[in-house]
């Protein structure tokens, strides 16, 4: 996806003005409540008409006020999932799911209903009417409906805020894999950095209606490491564990990571907070943390008073977070060797 934006829109007191170029398969829009995220995607999908400007997607012009081009929403083929599930009240769950699917040319149908219904855990709901669903159930149906439209771009406006954690992390990897396997690019709005990290490769940060920054979720995560409650989240894709005494021993470079959760088959994705890594100058004895990794310090970065430490071991990296005083005291400088202690329970399996 390559999305070129140069648009303006006034709405009462609020005015939005964005000029940028987004590229990547999964792009996030990040910003505080009221910063104009929803407004922006309404403009992109053709549901609201910009006051002026130009929108181009993958070389096709969707809107151009000077040339008088304004492609209708269905021609843009940008499927939306709204903040609040908007299911068709007169249709059942199944008909809702298939609404966009039926309207997609058979040649363009790369994703089928069975896979989506299974992945979103909707099997038992398919026969129901939409009035009889709980909040979370509704949102899953809305998600499935959008994916099944086999759109050219999938736009999601905080689609997961109505879901509980276990569902959320069950759905995220699926959304991502749908996007990856079938090559559907996504525009993903969220105020959760974790979701952003998992879903997107590039992030557009907007602030009071204008572009604040175009960055990667990684950089954004590093920058907001100090502010985020979970620091910087290391994402680790690990596989082939051996299980001993209920613990999963995963190979990691030439060392081993010991995790309390895991799955025998296939690869799993884990999240590890930068705050869950403790650094030692020397090898400590008798420690409750199961992992003690010998690493090199590759890089140091500042984030709002904290120090981010990029650790390296046999080509693998991890980001740890320490306070400045600790960095000085331990003599953490690029090239130094440190021991990183990580508890087996600090890893969180996402999918």
């Amino acid at each position: 996806m390559k999305l070129q934006l140069d648009i303006e829109k006034r709405q009462g007191d609020f005015s939005l003005k964005v000029k940028t170029e987004l590229s990547g398969e999964r792009v996030g829009i990040f910003g505080a409540s009221g910063s104009g995220k929803s407004t922006l995607i309404h403009l992109i999908s053709g549901l609201t008409r910009p006051d002026a400007g130009r929108i181009e997607l993958d070389g096709d012009c969707l809107f151009d006020s000077t040339k008088g081009i304004d492609l209708s929403p269905e021609k843009r083929r940008i499927a939306l999932v709204f903040q609040q599930a908007t299911l068709f009240p007169h249709l059942g769950v199944k008909a809702n799911l298939l609404y966009g699917y039926k309207r997609c040319k058979p040649a363009g149908r790369r994703i089928g209903p069975e896979a989506v219904i299974k992945a979103l855990d909707l099997e038992h709901l398919v026969g129901r009417g939409v009035g009889k669903l709980s909040g979370g159930e509704k949102q899953r149906v809305a998600l499935g409906r959008a994916v099944l439209a086999n759109p050219r771009l999938l736009v999601m406006d905080e689609p997961l805020s109505a879901l509980d954690d276990s569902l959320r992390y069950q759905i995220i990897p699926y959304l991502r894999s749908v996007s990856e396997e079938f090559g559907i690019p996504c525009l993903f709005i969220s105020h959760s950095l974790t979701e952003m990290r998992l879903m997107t490769e590039q992030v557009m940060v907007i602030k009071k209606g204008s572009l604040d920054e175009l960055t990667t979720p990684n950089k954004l995560a590093r920058a907001s490491m100090a502010l985020s409650p979970h620091g910087y989240l290391n994402l680790l894709r690990l596989s082939n564990p051996s299980v001993r005494e209920g613990l999963h021993h995963y190979p990691w470079g030439n060392q081993e990571l010991i995790l309390s959760e895991g799955r025998k088959e296939g690869a799993s994705l884990f999240e590890l907070s930068s705050r869950d890594i403790i650094l030692f100058k020397n090898h400590p004895e008798a420690i409750s943390a199961r992992n003690l990794l010998e690493c090199n310090v590759m890089e140091l970065f500042d984030a709002d008073g904290r120090k981010g430490v990029v650790l390296e071991s046999d080509g693998k990296t991890l980001v740890a977070e320490i306070v400045r005083a600790a960095a000085e005291e331990l003599g953490v400088t690029p090239g130094a060797t440190v021991f990183a202690a990580i508890k087996a329970s600090a890893f969180r399996r996402l999918g």
Partner: protein, 228 residues
């Protein structure tokens, strides 16, 4: 209550006219309401006024206008007559009269229903690949059904009671164009006919009770359907 064969014919004719007028008007009513609610255009006010004219003008006047339009010298009458279609003094003229008089009621009901449709549903539909016409048929239409049911029951009832315009364009010919209200008019002209007139009133009431019940049940079903 014993009805003469002529009365029975009048009842059958009234039904036929009311049903036909309602059925013919529905698609136009829907289209008009849609235009008014979802398409801003110039001259909307003019259309609005034009549609509501039959409500404001006494039915007799509407009858005269229709007669002028459809008659020998009316442009529509001439056009139809060259096609071999004669409208004046047939039950089709009565259908037209009923349709004209009931149309504003129909449109207004459908409009009210349409105005309460959540716009985000339409946005969802469009973004899922439905062109405007598809959205119209698969989202707006089903969500307007309640308004259409309400409107057509109004219109049906109004058609059953239509007198002034009908007697002028269709005449009052027993067995051919005499509807229940015209038959009541005939009976009421002689004091001896009062009881017969009352019988026909009762029939008229019974008919509209039936229609209203059916519509009530339909309306419930529609609402229920959405919940289930």
């Amino acid at each position: 209550m014993n009805l003469t064969p002529e009365d029975l014919a009048a009842i059958a004719l009234s039904m036929k006219i009311a049903v036909t007028a309602t059925a013919i008007s529905l698609p136009f009513g829907f289209a008009t309401a849609w235009l008014m609610v979802f398409r801003p255009f110039r001259g909307k006010m003019l259309l609005e006024v034009f549609i509501n004219l039959p409500l404001t003008l006494p039915p007799v006047v509407i009858g005269y206008f229709l007669l002028l339009l459809l008659g020998r010298n009316g442009w529509l009458g001439q056009a139809l007559s060259s096609l071999g279609i004669e409208l004046v003094f047939t039950w089709k003229a009565a259908v037209l009269a009923s349709a004209t008089v009931g149309f504003p009621l129909l449109v207004r009901s459908i409009r009210l229903g349409m105005e309460s449709i959540d716009r985000q549903l339409l946005e969802a539909s469009r973004s899922l690949g439905a062109p405007w016409f598809d959205t119209l048929v698969t989202v707006i239409l089903p969500l307007s059904l309640r308004g259409m049911v309400a409107g057509s029951s109004l219109m049906f009832a109004r058609s059953l009671g239509e007198f002034g315009a009908t007697i002028i364009v269709a005449g009052n010919i027993p067995g051919l164009t005499q509807t229940i209200p015209l038959a009541i008019y005939d009976y009421a002209s002689s004091p001896a006919g009062t009881s017969m007139a009352l019988s026909l009133c009762l029939v008229s009431v019974a008919l509209s009770v039936t229609v209203l019940s059916v519509h009530e049940v339909l309306g419930k079903k529609l609402e229920h359907g959405r919940r289930t």
